[in-house]
Amino acid sequence: MSPRGQIFLVLWGVIFMALYGIACIFVMHLWPPPSPLRPDDEVAQFYLDNSVSLRVGACVALAVAGFNIPIASVVTYQMVRLGRRVLPWAIVHAMGSAMMTMWLALPPMLWGGAAFTPERAPALTRLMSDFAWLAFITSISHFVFQACAFAYVCLSRKVDSPYFPRWLGYLTVWSFAITEIGVFAMLIKEGPFAWNGLFGFWSPVIAAFLWWYAMAYVFVKNLRTEVAAGDAGDADHTQQAEGTYVAAR
């Protein structure tokens, strides 16, 4: 795929990511999260009062929840360019990224489902709401593969590519570690580790968005360089952008 096409994919993902946040904050009014300690009646009343906006917001969020896929596809392609030795990591990255999308799509589906028939028994609505929040906050099982593969390629001494700078590898390690803290929300309903707490929600969401945007920035910057080099007929620069994997290191 041409560098211009890859820029399109990355920006597609970035815009969809922003729309996902907008849907959750301004349409569904779900971010910041409510307390896990709310009684059943209060939870059910929220879904009853906001049934329309929740379902509309769920439609938007579901439409854009796959934002990780176009970004990850460009990253995976750049890994594949490095050669056969990096191919297993590219596969891990691709699979982890694709599977992770499931955990971004499931919560809006559950929020919308809870708002679909809000007149039901409050305990059932509470069940769906709890499931949605825990699915969103504690689902760490697949992002770990995307993050580890990306961090490995960035930090490997054998890789020399402008798309995978070492500082971004360290940022990936840090962001991934912070997002993993969210799993503690399964164990407690109040305090900073709960799903509405500083470490359960705010830190992981901020760290994840920061990382995605940093990665998008690095990739778009280097893709633009490739576009310019290609337009100028600069074969050397294009070759340099492709990166190398030096097995002898």
Partner: protein, 202 residues
């Protein structure tokens, strides 16, 4: 000059024209500084909840094993010292294997003592969901423990680089690897000292 003083020399001063450099590589300091910021936030949150749950915090602290935590502090600080000695020896092209391995063993001892402490505290009925204090205690110390595990793993991975640097056959990236791993280990050390003071002493 005594034999001991000659054995461990400080690194050579910069010659005119040399560019100063950070230990390890600049990227690892992105990780270290961002981790320091994260733990800084941890400490502010702890202070906030202590203000609002003072009696609960004081009562909960009595369940903690201050003796084991103190022993762990000695172990980790000693481990940090041994790693620092190892790096200095390696830079002077001397055999640094013994202090380096001893430093790694210190990390393993820390993990063992910490898990033992957890088992004692859980045996007393103090779990993650008992109250806010214990959610912070287990959360913060578990995250620190993961840093210890990661730090030990990284120290083991850079052991060949340390041997190469000590033998005088290392490349510049070998020294960067060793210094990066050691810098991260000192971060782990510093974080524990702060956690020990805030969770056990104050």
């Amino acid at each position: 000059m005594s034999q001991h003083a000659e054995a461990i020399k400080p690194p050579p001063a910069l010659a005119p024209g040399d560019r100063p450099r950070v230990p390890g590589e600049p990227g690892v300091w992105v990780l270290i500084l961002s981790d320091l910021i994260l733990f800084g936030v941890f400490f502010v949150v702890l202070a906030y909840y202590r203000m609002h749950h003072g009696p609960e915090f004081s009562a909960s602290q009595t369940v903690l094993s201050r003796g084991i935590a103190t022993a762990n502090t000695v172990v980790l600080v000693t481990s940090g010292l041994l790693i620092a000695i190892a790096v200095r020896r390696a830079r002077a092209h001397q055999d640094a294997t013994l202090p380096f391995r001893a430093g790694i063993v210190g990390g393993v001892v820390f993990m063992t003592l910490k898990i033992t402490e957890y088992m004692l505290e859980i045996g007393h009925g103090a779990t993650f969901s008992s109250n806010v204090f214990f959610s912070l205690y287990y959360g913060y110390t578990c995250i620190h423990l993961m840093h210890v595990v990661f730090g030990v793993a990284v120290l083991l991975i850079v052991s060949p680089s340390l041997r190469a640097v000590g033998a005088g056959s290392g490349r510049s990236e070998d020294l960067a690897n060793v210094e990066s791993a050691a810098s991260f280990w000192h971060l782990v050390d510093v974080l524990w000292i702060a956690l020990y003071a805030l969770l056990y002493l104050i």
